[in-house]
Amino acid sequence: MTELIRTLPLVAAQGGVLSRWLTAWRDAGNRGGDRSTALPPLVRDIVAPTAATQGVGDVAASRLFSLRTIGKLFDGGVQALDDINLDIREGEIFGIIGRSGAGKSTLLRTLNLLERPSAGTIEFEGRDLLTLDAAELRQLRRRIGMIFQHFNLLSSRTVAGNIALPLELAGVPESHIATRVDELLDLVGLREQRDRYPNQISGGQKQRVGIARALATEPRVLLCDEATSALDPETTQSILALLADINRRLGLTIVLITHQMQVIKAIAHRVAVLDGGHLAEQGSVGDIFTAPTQEITRTLLREVIGNDIPAGVRDRAARLLESGEGRIWRLSFRGESVDRPALTEAAERFGLKINLLHGYIDDIQGMPFGSLVVAAAGADAVLDAAAAFIESQDIRVEEVVL
């Protein structure tokens, strides 16, 4: 939002544009319509190119955070982070996953220096965070919003009072605070709850207050530490939708930690996998989810990409193998290879008998991918040739050892 105003002095000068736009946006959403048409033309033009959907694929997309050789050694001797190198790009939703204790929270908290790394450098918007003095750091933290698993709302303040808090801290005049709080209440759909206390609203509503509060100072990035872990699945969906919406419409960068792989699958663009304080791998969600290279990633993703062969299917496969020559293959395909009739072609060309055992096809952010487990019967030489052919069609072939 800040960026909009900065880059659009003309629009900002007209006053209240942001609030009119937010109102229009909400109304469009309420009518179930397409919100993009609710954007005023100027804003739409500016938002479009920076929007995550377009910027994220570019390697050239500008970096918001650059972490180099980040390490964190806690007092007790725990090496929570070791040699972490990663960039977080402007406008993207960046996921961090890993087992409990892998260092996810520590990594996220180094981004706003709630945790000071013991090694390495962090740049935010090209500035070296570690050289800032206390006052500069406080100033900068207003540009980095944060939300929490347990919301961390002040029980002594109403919903509106909580949202106003960061503005009060920043010394924003009271008249501005009132308007801004109303805009934010509308943004997160909590107008009705404005005068309630946190103990009088639901968990999902509390997290909405958390989001509104984090957005109050118009940050460039929102850090989320397990923001949906304390919520039921339905509420999780609505919070994710809100985050995705904010990311898309406002071009806000989001960094999120979660144990729920569906969350990453649903809204993240890129993901980093932490393991014992190390960065195991990172890449686009499409790549990591469909072709994980590390064992830890495969383990974490087991629940969303059904790589396990069910026991019943195993038994069936074992019986098939006993009854004759053949192999069990797992075929993994993604992207365009989904559409190729490679299996049928291989069967015809090499005279294979193929028996389908198990499989699924899914879609991760527009990229189709899937896995099939088949029993292929034939002589060894034929099977080798067939496997090579299928591989040539961009389908990975793994022999499954039962």
Partner: protein, 217 residues
């Protein structure tokens, strides 16, 4: 009960209220900041300062472990220096306040420790200064607990004020001892006890209700 005795009773009640009120106010005014300091200078505190924390802690413990009747006498030189005399109601207020300060401080400290660390982190992530965190989170969030602590302080000050007679401070306790006990007037003693019970009851229920109203947990 004779009219003179009734007048005496009224004076004594006012003396008690005066001693408890003033020392309670002074105890709060100095004990609250001391409690805050004890928390923020502690390890992992907002403004960690172990030596200062140690010194303040020792002071609080020393005062709190001194029996009040001894404290009353021990601080006489200080009392004389502050009030100009070591006898009377005004003089009793000095030791009462000195006893109240660490009492309030420890109760405030434990109320502040109840404040979720996550809230402090949330404020830090917003770029709040330590003072802003104290003002907008620590104290408001701990306020119900602080009010409960102040209620306890007032009640125990009423108890302590009964010993004020030792320095000629007057008050209900003194009346009970002098007339009820030394002059064998059991009805005076009974009345003193009843009034003290009602007073404590009143303070406690007002304090509870106030704390309850402040709490939104």
């Amino acid at each position: 009960m004779s009219p003179e005795l009734l007048a005496l009773f009224q004076t004594s009640l006012l003396e008690t209220l005066w001693m408890v009120g003033v020392s309670g106010a002074i105890g709060t005014a100095l004990g609250l900041p001391l409690g805050v300091l004890l928390v923020i200078t502690d390890q992992y505190g907002l403004l960690q300062n172990r030596p200062l924390n140690r010194v303040l802690g020792v002071f609080a413990n020393a005062v709190r472990s001194t029996p009040f009747i001894i404290l009353l006498v021990a601080v006489i030189p200080l009392t004389r220096w502050i009030v100009g005399t070591s006898i009377g109601t005004g003089a009793a207020i000095v030791p009462l306040s000195i006893a109240a300060i660490p009492f309030v401080a420890r109760l405030v400290e434990s109320a502040l420790r109840e404040v979720d660390r996550g809230l402090i982190e949330a404020l830090q992530s917003m770029g709040a200064t330590p003072w802003q965190i104290i003002r907008t989170v620590l104290i408001p969030e701990a306020l119900p607990g602080i009010v409960a602590g102040l209620t306890i302080t007032l009640v125990s000050l009423i108890g302590h004020s009964a010993m004020a007679g030792a320095v000629g401070g007057g008050g209900l306790g003194d009346l009970g001892i002098r007339y009820g006990y030394q002059r064998f007037l059991p009805e005076v003693m009974a009345l003193v006890v009843v009034v003290l019970i009602v007073l404590v009851q009143l303070i406690q229920s007002l304090g509870d209700r106030f704390a309850q109203r402040l709490s939104h947990r």
